[in-house]
Symmetry: C2
Subunit: 172 residues, 2 copies
């Protein structure tokens, strides 16, 4: 009788509800910020006024790594949002039991580490590239992409904190 089990624990599901709503909000916010960061970095190019050579983000390893972490974070949040929609529609969690909590915990932790490393690598490179050079759109766009990734990381770190505090539930 799985239905009655669900029905007899209204207090449990109602206490879990606010944190799950905040969690979904964090994932949607991360998704939006990473989408803008993705567009910014993908369109990052500049033609040198003197040599007419074109500089692209892919000329720098640091920006390639940053793009990789943005794509990883983007794909992960897309997956989690799909899981949430499935849960709302079907009423069941995609990964039931302990597996779901453990997956959320480890995935949020790893993805947040990837995101901050990508942002830091981007900033570490941009700060050095931009030193002594007059402000230009290439540096500004790269800075903006790294900043958006950093903001996305903060939301994912909050999500990771929520899924860490949800770990005790797996014992139930």
């Amino acid at each position: 009788m799985p239905e009655t089990v669900v029905n007899t624990t209204p207090s449990n599901s109602s206490t879990a509800s606010p944190s799950r709503t905040v969690l979904l909000l964090m994932r949607v916010l991360t998704f939006v910020f990473l989408l803008i960061a993705l567009i910014l970095i993908a369109t990052l190019k500049q033609t040198d006024a003197d040599t007419e050579e074109q500089i692209k983000f892919s000329d720098f390893y640091g920006y390639r790594y940053m793009l990789a972490t943005i794509i990883i974070g983007f794909a992960y949040n897309l997956l989690q949002m799909a899981f949430s929609i499935f849960t709302v529609v079907s009423g069941n969690r995609v990964l039931s039991g302990d597996g779901g909590y453990l997956f959320d915990f480890f995935a949020d932790k790893m993805i947040s580490y990837f995101m901050i490393s990508g942002s830091a690598a981007g900033f570490g490179l941009t700060v050095e590239l931009g030193r002594g050079v007059p402000s230009n759109s290439f540096i500004d766009k790269a800075n903006a992409a790294a900043s958006l990734l950093l903001i996305g990381f903060v939301f994912t770190a909050i999500a990771s904190t929520i899924t860490s505090f949800a770990l005790p539930k797996k014992a139930n």
Copy 2:
């Protein structure tokens, strides 16, 4: 009667013991790796053969940030080891009750984020500095310091996972 309470729960303290030992081992390993990284980055300098100008780590913002994160991680692990020694000597946790578990959880999480960001900023800069340049001791040492910081981060991330799984204990 706090003594009798401790004595009547031998099973509880023995189950907690392995993870606390692993936790202490992770902190000692992090401490050792960060100490070597600290020495490497602090001694990072090179005299240019042509111009006789001396290049130091502090000429690069990325390496300054990396040094800052190494010092933060180093100081934190020193503090945690001091807490552990106090616990062994006195038999009491420094932060008793929920506070200790919450402090460990949030501190490990934040410090591990700092450490990976420092390592990524260092790598992001070093990879670009070293491109097209013949192998030299400055780049090699900077790479080694970033690698040691990354290894230290892995140990702290494991410690952070252990302290996350210890969160359910705070409810007891």
